[in-house]
Amino acid sequence: GESVGLHLPTLSVQEGDNSIINCAYSNSASDYFIWYKQESGKGPQFIIDIRSNMDKRQGQRVTVLLNKTVKHLSLQIAATQPGDSAVYFCAVFLNDYKLSFGAGTTVTVRA
């Protein structure tokens, strides 16, 4: 199986600063990872994904880092904006199409 944990349930960040959200997973055979953003009253929204053959992947203002040695991934958001306030989940695949989700980190952006 797979268990997924997040290091911090909440994160408060000043507008304009960078945010880092962390996630740990348990199974070294996990090979595909996704970050989602969920705003109040909405479903999880895909942000970025990364496969196990990569260490880093960049999108628009976001970067995902994968450290397979310690089974850890992180999501970095550059120049955090008020619209980034949401709950962020990491999700992990284990050899099939079933996702295991972390509990989520609530990010609050201070003006």
Partner: protein
């Protein structure tokens, strides 16, 4: 945004009544999923489908059934609703079974009194 529509968006019903939630997609994706989201438990998979009439159980399938008669529609049924099934239900779709992201609808908030 992925073309996923869930209906109804909100429902209040009584214990013991049957309830059906609908997920409709316009992406022609083969794979569809039903999740429930509860405080302290995150998202948990109820059932999934890997094609028309092809479905299988997830981790919390007791008390739920599903049907998929067309590619675009995936129905979740609570045959006899219980208060423990009060939750927010999300449908998701994906183009492939592996290494493909799942895209979610905006959910159905179900309250069972």
């Amino acid at each position: 945004d992925a073309g996923i529509t869930q209906s109804p968006r909100h429902k209040v019903t009584e214990t013991g009544t049957p309830v059906t939630l609908r997920c409709h997609q316009t992406e022609n994706h083969r794979y569809m999923y039903w999740y429930r989201q509860d405080p302290g438990h995150g998202l948990r998979l109820i059932h999934y489908s890997y094609g028309v009439k092809d479905t299988d159980k997830g981790e919390v399938s007791d008390g739920y059934s599903v049907s998929r008669s067309k590619t675009e529609d995936f129905l979740l049924t609570l045959e006899s609703a219980t208060s423990s099934q009060t939750s927010v239900y999300f449908c998701a779709i994906s183009a492939g079974s592996r290494n493909q992201p799942q895209h979610f609808g905006d959910g159905t908030r179900l309250s069972i009194l």
